[in-house]
């Protein structure tokens, strides 16, 4: 079967070779990249602009964005028809192509986040080495941890006041550098679409900007939810002394976690972060609406078909699911007085859904009409896979991509405890 034929239904006049070629994985690709960029921007709010109130969630966001990082590439790899040749992009980069430049921006960004984490946790790493070394008997887990810490400390054991001061400066610098690079990273994802002149829906210079704003929105929302959920787990575990739910406590032996204290920290951080979420949401929604209004106002040749897609074929997906349930509803929920953690988390879940729908409507919606402007293509996500391709480009592949960052985070948290509260890290 031809690639794309399985999930595409053609209606009216569509060219013989036209199918929905970019499916769910390419929806997830800007989505996951957006989460990475957004989480990083959130962590930088504290490190660069010194928003003290976000101190706790900032560290969590940093570690989480590091866990999300490898996942940004995953959908692209899963989507390739020749995944084994994926490295060709780095071996023979073709610089007029937006995708090839993306690889370079991505690598730069990965280095920045990695370095920032290293500086943030350097004191903690050195402390841990001392603590673990001082122990008379070590379990296999602790020995492994000690080895890891020894390797990643890179031999920098100096904990003098000046050295820590220098660490602090480096973090600030890297976080500052990271913001433009993170925006660039996601702007590039938008550029990949915005520069396709053959596609009437994608072809707009606003695309990179719209993508950046919604990226920050989704990143912050994900951090709020995950933070709330992980804190909830920690409270639960702390109350019952179930330490295997507290990987960091397990690894570092800090058993004294007070549930009441956790609750107050959690409530405070979630409320504060929600304020910033609202700001970015306003920006993102305004830009997206502006784009639609602008297209209708200028009404170039393609507007006829775009209007059909926006107001008829994808009406429910765009106005009900994306704008209604994904934007307006959570906006009101966050704006209403006496915000609770639960309400904030629910609102953020809707925000995440809204951003996913936005990516869907851009990527799938952009391919919904034929290049001839005479016909339509309907996309049906493969649910039950019957071969590798329908798995990769179906529900299974999508769930795999979405769940990976949490698995990575679980293990990463053992090495770089994201909920560390002592004065051990910045």
């Amino acid at each position: 079967m031809v690639h794309g034929e399985f999930w595409t239904i053609k209606d009216l006049f569509v060219l013989p070779n036209e199918y929905v070629y970019w499916s769910i994985q390419i929806v997830l690709y800007p989505y996951m990249t957006g989460l990475v960029a957004g989480a990083f921007v959130l962590s930088s709010l504290y490190h660069v602009f010194g928003v003290e109130k976000l101190k706790q969630i900032a560290r969590f966001a940093l570690v989480f964005s590091f866990a999300l990082l490898p996942v940004a590439m995953m959908p692209l790899m899963m989507h390739l028809q020749q995944p084994l040749r994926g490295t060709n992009v780095l071996m023979t980069p073709h610089f007029t192509s937006a995708i090839s430049a993306f690889g370079i921006v991505f690598m730069t960004y990965a280095c920045i986040v990695g370095a920032e984490i290293w500086f943030v946790y350097r004191k903690f790493i050195v402390d841990s080495i001392h603590r673990l070394q001082a122990k008379s008997s070590r379990g296999p887990g602790e020995s492994l941890l000690l080895l890891i810490y020894k390797v990643i400390s890179l031999g920098a054991m100096d904990l003098s006041k000046e050295a820590l001061e220098a660490d602090h400066k480096a973090v600030k610098f890297l976080a500052g550098l990271g913001i433009p690079v993170a925006c660039f990273l996601h702007g590039y994802a938008g550029f990949i679409f915005g520069s396709v002149k053959a596609n009437a829906l994608w072809m707009t210079p606003l695309m990179p900007v719209i993508f950046i704003c919604s990226a920050v929105v989704s990143g912050i929302a994900l951090c709020i939810i995950s933070y709330a959920v992980f804190m909830e787990l920690r409270k639960w575990a702390a109350r019952r002394n179930k330490h295997y739910f507290l990987p960091d406590a397990l690894a570092h032996g800090s058993s004294a976690v007070d549930p009441e204290h956790l609750r107050s920290v959690q409530g405070h951080e979630v409320k504060m972060t929600s304020k910033y979420l609202l700001i970015f949401m306003t920006l993102a929604i305004t830009l997206e609406l502006l784009d639609i209004i602008f297209r209708g106002y200028t009404a170039v040749k393609s507007w006829d078909i775009l209007r059909d897609v926006i107001y008829e074929h994808d009406f429910v997906k765009i106005f009900v699911l994306q704008y209604g349930i994904g934007n307006v509803l959570p906006f009101l929920m966050l704006l209403a007085p006496r915000l609770t953690t639960r309400r904030a988390a629910l609102a953020c879940l809707l925000v995440l859904f809204g951003v996913l729908m936005m990516r869907w409507n851009v990527v799938i919606g952009g391919q919904a009409f034929s290049l001839t402007f005479a016909g339509f293509m309907h996309y049906h996500l493969p649910i039950i896979p019957h071969d590798m391709e329908t798995f990769k480009e179906g529900l299974g592949g999508a769930l795999l991509v979405v769940s990976t960052p949490f698995i990575i985070f679980y293990f990463l948290n053992m090495i770089f405890p994201a909920f560390l509260e002592e004065k051990e890290a910045h």
Binding site: M1, V2, H3, G4, E5, I9, K10, D11, L12, F13, V14, L15, P16, N17, E18, Y19, Y21, W22, L76, H79, L80, Q81, Q82, P83, R85, G86, N88, V89, M91, T92, P93, H94, T96, S97, A98, I99, S100, G103, I192, S195, V196, K197, A198, N199, S370, L371, T372, F373, A374, G375, H378
Partner: protein, 257 residues
């Protein structure tokens, strides 16, 4: 050496050297070729002559080993039926591999549509293929350089290097690209490069019984395609994208998309 001789010799030397230098400059083969390459392949389609038999599509599939039953093709033929009330109805069942044998128009999920003869004001066929653009967006967007343009203007795909990202498929405004069902890499018409570079015609040109298709060299003033492009009213598809297509159409209708 006398002063006069010296002057004379110098003069000869200087002028000779300058002639030499300018001649060298002028004769740098790469520049000459770039300014006036000997070959620029182009295609001429005469829609007046096409009857929609689909022989070209069939020949192309066999020649280029695109699986016969697969619903993708390097070249295809579209049918246009323009009604008296101005409505335009189009179809291209299986790329017209088997020709147009029925009066019913294939409208995909909307089913078949029959337009009564008396309502039809005009009907014609338009063959399509890769335009071998002078400014090809497919080459521009390929992240690994697997899609590239040769000096004589044909855009080729390196099957051993394509990663199968589909960016070029998205970038082509003409929808001529697809994934090869067997090779799993980007695929499209290449003007039968293996044939034309040996002085043969493309498979579709050979197969067309009505001479609706012609391949030729735009740089050769005696070439029938070049002559037609210079002297007749020819059109190209979707000029607005700035791709500078090199498939020229005689009798192009504004309804053709």
């Amino acid at each position: 050496m006398k002063r006069r001789d010296f002057l004379k010799n110098s003069l000869v030397f200087v002028s000779g050297a300058s002639v030499c230098a300018s001649a060298l400059e002028f004769l740098d083969p790469r520049e000459v070729l770039a300014a006036n390459p000997e070959v620029r392949w182009a295609f001429l389609v005469n829609t007046h002559k096409c009857v929609g038999c689909g022989f070209c599509v069939k020949a192309c599939k066999i020649e280029n080993e695109v699986p016969f039953e697969a619903n993708v093709t390097r070249t295809w033929v579209e049918r246009y039926v323009i009604k008296r009330d101005g409505e335009v109805v189009m179809d291209s069942p299986k790329g017209a591999r088997d020709g147009f044998t029925s009066k019913e128009l294939d409208q995909g999920a909307s089913g078949m549509r029959r337009i009564p003869d008396e309502e039809i004001s005009q009907a014609f066929f338009v063959p399509k293929l890769c335009n071998q653009c002078q400014n090809p967006p497919c080459v521009q967007v390929c992240p690994v350089g697997a899609t590239y343009q040769t000096g004589d203007g044909v855009v080729l795909v390196d099957r051993s290097w394509c990663i199968g990202c589909g960016y070029c498929i998205m970038g082509c405004p003409y929808g001529v690209r697809f994934f090869h069902p067997v090779e799993k890499v980007a695929e499209k018409c290449n003007f039968c490069y293996h044939r034309i570079t040996k002085g043969m015609n493309t498979a579709c040109v050979d197969a067309c019984p009505f001479g609706a298709r012609l391949i030729g060299n735009l740089r050769d003033p005696d070439d029938p395609v070049a002559k037609a492009v210079m002297t007749q009213r020819v059109g190209v598809l979707r000029d607005e994208y700035g791709t500078k297509p090199h498939v020229f159409y005689i009798g192009l209708n504004k309804e053709v998309r």
